[in-house]
């Protein structure tokens, strides 16, 4: 539900240099208000993250510093759970598979609906946004029987991607729809068709490359979602990264490794965000 506005798209700044006509005294008061607000909220947002980062660098004795917990990420083996590294691997693999399947499912269908079956546009939007209103935990309850059936054939945690695609659907759809609505699909497709292009060429060599930014947004949102997923993996008894961190914290409270891994995952998310805003800015510069 979170990324109704996807990370990269800045809501349109409507009022350029807004309160230009404002009286000086009110302007000053407003500025004081703003900086007080920014400081307080900044502290509220930063403190837990800093505490986590600090705790991940805690030595054996309280108040000392050490990087043991960070070194442990590669080798940690909790009791009764698979090695930490294997669940990191599985989560990354899941993220890749989910991204590929989501895009393979959505991109051609969305372009196709836009080009040829416009009466399906509204139902498709409805279906794509529907997972927002069905809590993941409800999905698990209903999926239990279906997954039991799949597990007869294959026990790997990678099978989680089937549901993750559903979870990612609303976010990916929003991002792709924004990308699709930013280009003039009719003109492009008519031009390509009248030059003799097949529908395949129109979709994958004309339109898809033009919605690169939307595809990138969808990719990163899906990626972030899979890395943070806990509910479904935990309840279907699979060990992805979050479920693994959870069970380590149950068995060994305050194990340094859970904080270093969490901090690493968060840093990773920020790096993704940087990539996103960099790509976004380049587009703005060009256009």
């Amino acid at each position: 539900m979170a990324a109704l506005t996807s990370v990269g798209e800045t809501p349109a700044p409507a009022e350029a240099a807004g309160q230009r006509g404002m009286h000086g005294r009110r302007r000053r008061r407003l500025n004081i208000f703003r900086y007080v607000v920014f400081t307080l909220f900044g502290a509220f947002f930063l403190l837990p993250l800093l505490a986590m980062a600090r705790f991940s660098l805690e030595g054996a004795k309280l108040g000392t510093w050490s990087v043991t917990a960070w070194k442990q990420i590669a080798s940690y083996q909790g009791t009764g759970v698979p090695p930490l590294l294997s669940s990191i691997e599985i989560t990354l693999e899941l993220a890749v598979i989910t991204c590929v399947v989501t895009l393979a499912l959505l991109v051609p269908t969305m372009i196709w609906v836009r080009l040829r079956v416009q009466w399906l546009a509204r139902p498709m939007e409805f279906l794509s946004l529907l997972p927002l209103t069905i809590p993941a935990i409800v999905l698990v309850v209903g999926l239990g029987p279906i997954y039991n059936r799949i597990q007869h054939y294959e026990l790997s945690a990678l099978m989680l991607f089937w549901v993750y695609v559903i979870l990612a659907l609303p976010f990916a759809y929003r991002a792709l729809a924004a990308g699709l609505s930013a280009i003039d699909v009719e003109t492009l497709s008519e031009a390509a068709r009248s030059l003799g292009a097949s529908w395949f060429t129109v979709m994958f060599r004309v339109i898809a490359p033009n919605m690169r930014q939307g595809i990138l947004n969808a990719l990163l949102l899906t990626w972030a979602l899979v890395l943070g997923e806990f509910t479904i993996a935990f309840l279907l008894l699979y060990n992805n990264l979050q479920a693994e961190l959870y069970s380590i914290s149950r068995n060994t409270p305050n194990a340094g490794v859970i904080f270093s891994t969490s901090t690493a995952a968060l840093l990773f998310a920020f790096v993704l965000l940087l990539i996103l805003s960099y790509a976004g800015r380049r587009r703005r510069g060009r256009g």
Binding site: R34, F41, W199
Partner: protein, 288 residues
């Protein structure tokens, strides 16, 4: 798979000479089939099973069990937590959004806060509970809050952490839509700042604010990871109880409890999201 199917249709449609012509909507079948199997079918299973006995016979009387004092307790817990965290999140989020919106629209602070909001709104889950645990938990680095493990206040604070950024994301466009001219007009007519907010700005933003609050409510309702990592011994809210019911399903008797609770959640979210959609439509009247 999806790619193959759509392109096939495309290729055929492009050669009108072919005998076999496939209607264009066939290209959407892979998508529709996927959604049907992994979204619609599970939801249907929940609805149908919640109205059945464990032995498979129809039992519409099940629905009255939602009023059972024990079951009701979980829904009240959920309601308390969602209400508190969405109200706090909405109020503080709106304040922050106003502070962000009144600055330079291309400024660093705006970009920074939007980017951070984008990440933190998603940053619920196990990790968030850990972060607050080391900040103000029993071994807290900042201080030890004695109410850290009290329901609903301790967990409300943690929820607020991801609710505020979400409110910023959904409320900022509404604040951006308020035109400076309206403020200038009311000032020219002699309105004080309070009068402006009471008669112009407030009523304009009220639907968007309430809509945002409802969205936060639904967001908190479906959250599970954070509270589970915060405290897993006691079930306070519906998702926790569903989890308990699922994992203790040795006998078949409990399966339908999970279905029933899930049905209750679907109903709750449906009500909230309908309200959100209506308010959103109302808010859009002025702000476009």
């Amino acid at each position: 798979m999806a790619v193959a199917a759509t392109t096939q249709t495309g290729a055929r449609a492009s050669r009108p000479g072919r005998r076999l012509s496939v209607p264009a909507w066939v290209g959407t079948v892979p998508f529709l089939a996927y959604v049907a199997v992994f979204l619609l079918w599970p939801t249907a299973i929940v609805v149908v099973d919640s109205l059945k006995n464990p032995n498979g016979a129809w039992a519409f009387a099940n629905i009255t069990k939602l009023g059972d004092p024990l079951v009701r307790g979980y829904f009240i817990g959920s309601f308390k937590l969602c209400l508190l965290s969405s109200v706090f999140g909405a109020v503080f989020g709106a304040i922050l959004a106003y502070a962000v919106a009144s600055g330079n629209p291309d400024g660093l602070i705006r970009r920074l806060y939007l980017a951070i909001s984008g990440v933190l709104a998603q940053f619920g889950g196990v990790t968030l509970a850990f972060a607050f645990l080391v900040l103000i938990g029993p071994v807290g680095l900042l201080f030890h809050a004695s109410w850290f493990y009290s329901f609903p206040w301790g967990i409300t604070l943690i929820y607020t952490y991801f609710q505020i950024p979400l409110m910023v994301l959904v409320f900022l466009p509404a604040i951006d839509g308020v035109k400076v001219q309206w403020r200038e007009a009311s000032e020219n007519l002699g309105a004080s700042a309070w009068q402006y907010w009471r008669y112009v700005g407030g009523p304009l933003l009220a639907p968007a604010f309430l809509g945002g609050t409802l969205l936060l409510f639904a967001n908190a309702l479906s959250a599970f990871a954070t509270i589970q990592a915060w405290e897993n011994q006691i079930a306070y809210i519906v998702p926790q109880q569903i989890s308990t019911a699922l994992s203790s399903e040795v006998g078949l008797s409990n399966v339908n409890v999970a279905d029933l609770l899930a049905l209750g959640m679907v109903i709750m979210v449906a009500i909230v999201m309908t309200g959100y959609a209506l308010l959103q439509r109302r808010a859009a009247r002025w702000l476009r």
